[in-house]
C-alpha cells in the first residue's frame, strides 16, 4: 500500500497530537529530522566535551573517596555522550561524521564548558549548578516525541541525580571547613552562576525555533520558563549552603510567586557560543588530539577483528 506524502504527514501529525512517540523508521518531515539531529548531536557533544573541565581535577582530588566519585562521574558523562550518539544514529547520521562536525566547528556544544575550572570547588559547583541546570532542561526531555532520544534521557536523568548530589555534598563539606575553603566556594559560585543561567539558551523572544519545536514535542517548555524554574529551585539551596548568588536584583516576588532576577549578559553568551569563550580553542584541540591519538587503536582493533 503506497501512501501519499500528505497521508504520511497527517499520520505523523496525528501521532504527535496524541502524545505518541516517533520511532526511527517512521516517516517524519525533513525539518523534524534535522532539528532532532541537531539537538541530539549538540547534546552528545556537550557530554563529551563536558568531561574535560572536571577531568582536569581527577589527579588532584583531595582524597581517594573524592577521586573515585569524580572518576565515576566523568565516566558517566562519556556514557551519556554514547547513549546520545546512538540515538542520533537512529536518524541516519554516522558517528564518525558527528565527531568530525564537532571538531571542525560545524556543530556546537553547550557554552558552559568553555569556562575554565580554576579551583577544586568548581567540581562541586559544576555538580550543583551546571548539572542542576542540565537536570531542569532534561527532565522534560524524557517526554520528547522522538522515542530513542526520550529513552536516552530517562537513563541520563537517573544518573545526573548522583552528579548533582555529589556536588552539593562536596560544597556542604567545604562550607564546614576553613575560611579559605568557604571563600573558594563563594568565588566559584560567582564565576558559574551566570553561565549556568545561559545554559537555558537565549530569551524566548530571540529563540525563533521554540514555537515549532514545542509543536513537534521536541521541546516541552520555553527557555525562559526553565530558567525561572531553575532559579526558584536553586535560591533556597544557596541559602542552605551559606553562599550568595551574585545578582543584586535577585529577590522573591510575592505577586508572581517566583524569584525576580537580573538580566543575563547575552552579549557574553553570543561571544562564547561564537567561539570567543576562555576555553573554546582548548576544548576542541584536546578533543582533536584524543581523536588523533586513538586512531591507531581503532585501526588495530579492526585488523584484529578481521583476523579472528
Amino acid at each position: 500500500m503506497e501512501l501519499s506524502e500528505t497521508q504520511l504527514s497527517e499520520h505523523f501529525e496525528a501521532t504527535i497530537a496524541r502524545q505518541g512517540r516517533i520511532e526511527p523508521r517512521d516517516w517524519m518531515p525533513d525539518g523534524y529530522r534535522k532539528t532532532m539531529i541537531r539537538q541530539i548531536a549538540q547534546h552528545a557533544h556537550s557530554e563529551i566535551i563536558g568531561m574535560q573541565p572536571e577531568g582536569n581535577w581527577i589527579t588532584r582530588a583531595p582524597s581517594l573517596r573524592r577521586k573515585a566519585i569524580l572518576l565515576a562521574k566523568v565516566q558517566d558523562e562519556a556514557g551519556h555522550g554514547m547513549y546520545l550518539y546512538a540515538a542520533a544514529e537512529t536518524l541516519g547520521t554516522d558517528r564518525a561524521d558527528l565527531t568530525e562536525r564537532l571538531i571542525d566547528g560545524r556543530q556546537k556544544y553547550s557554552s558552559i564548558f568553555n569556562y575554565p575550572t580554576l579551583s577544586y570547588a568548581d567540581v562541586g559547583v559544576i555538580g550543583w549548578l551546571v548539572d542542576g541546570a542540565a537536570i531542569c532542561n532534561q527532565v522534560p526531555l524524557c517526554r520528547s516525541s522522538y522515542g530513542p532520544y526520550a529513552r536516552a534521557m530517562v537513563r541520563i536523568c537517573k544518573e545526573e541525580s548522583f552528579h548533582q548530589r555529589q556536588g552539593y555534598e562536596l560544597l556542604l563539606t567545604m562550607m564546614r571547613g576553613s575560611d579559605a575553603q568557604k571563600a573558594m566556594v563563594q568565588e566559584s559560585v560567582n564565576r558559574f552562576w551566570w553561565p549556568s543561567l545561559m545554559m537555558f539558551g537565549p530569551p524566548d523572544a530571540q529563540s525563533p525555533n521554540t514555537e515549532r519545536s514545542m509543536a513537534w514535542g521536541i521541546k516541552r517548555h520555553t527557555n525562559d520558563d526553565l530558567r525561572q524554574r531553575f532559579v526558584d529551585m536553586t535560591v533556597p539551596q544557596a541559602d542552605r549552603l551559606g553562599v550568595t548568588l551574585p545578582d543584586d536584583k535577585l529577590r522573591w516576588n510575592e505577586a508572581r510567586g517566583h524569584y525576580d532576577f537580573g538580566e543575563v549578559d547575552w552579549a557574553e553568551f553570543k561571544a562564547v557560543v561564537g567561539g570567543a569563550g576562555p576555553c573554546n580553542a582548548d576544548r576542541i584541540a584536546r578533543r582533536q588530539a584524543a581523536h588523533d591519538a586513538g586512531s591507531w587503536v581503532r585501526e588495530a582493533a579492526m585488523a584484529h577483528a578481521a583476523k579472528h
Binding site: E23, A86, A87, A96, E159, W296
Partner: protein
C-alpha cells in the same frame, strides 16, 4: 608498529567500527530488552563495551549484542498492513467471550 607484510585489505582502512544492538536481561526471570546500540570492532569488544556503557549500575545479569545489520525488522508503525491480520481477530482475546457471572473459576 611495523608495517604489515600481509595482503593489504581491499577496502580502505575504515575509521568506523560496525554497529551492534544491545539487549539486557535485568534480572533472572525477565526477557532481554533492547537498550541501545554501540560500535565495536568485533562481538567480544561489543560485549565488553556494552557492560561498561549500559550496566554501570547493576542493570543486567546477562547481555546480548547483535550486529545491527543482522536484524530484519517489520516497518514499526502500528498502522502498517503487516499487523493487519491480528487487528480484526478479536476472538483471540479472552474478553471476547461472554460468560455468565455465576460460572466460577473462569
Amino acid at each position: 608498529m611495523p608495517p604489515s607484510t600481509e595482503q593489504p585489505s581491499t577496502e580502505p582502512p575504515s575509521t568506523g567500527w560496525p554497529l551492534f544492538e544491545v539487549f539486557l536481561r535485568g534480572k533472572r526471570g525477565l526477557n532481554h530488552v533492547h537498550v541501545g546500540s554501540l560500535h565495536a570492532a568485533d562481538p567480544e569488544m561489543a560485549l565488553r563495551h556494552a557492560r561498561d556503557l549500559y550496566t554501570r549500575r547493576n542493570e543486567a545479569v546477562s547481555i546480548w549484542v547483535v550486529p545491527a545489520d543482522a536484524i530484519t525488522a517489520s516497518s514499526p508503525d502500528e498502522k502498517d498492513p503487516f499487523f493487519a491480520p491480528s487487528g480484526d481477530k478479536v476472538y483471540r482475546h479472552p474478553t471476547f467471550y461472554q460468560i455468565p457471572e455465576d460460572v466460577p473459576h473462569i
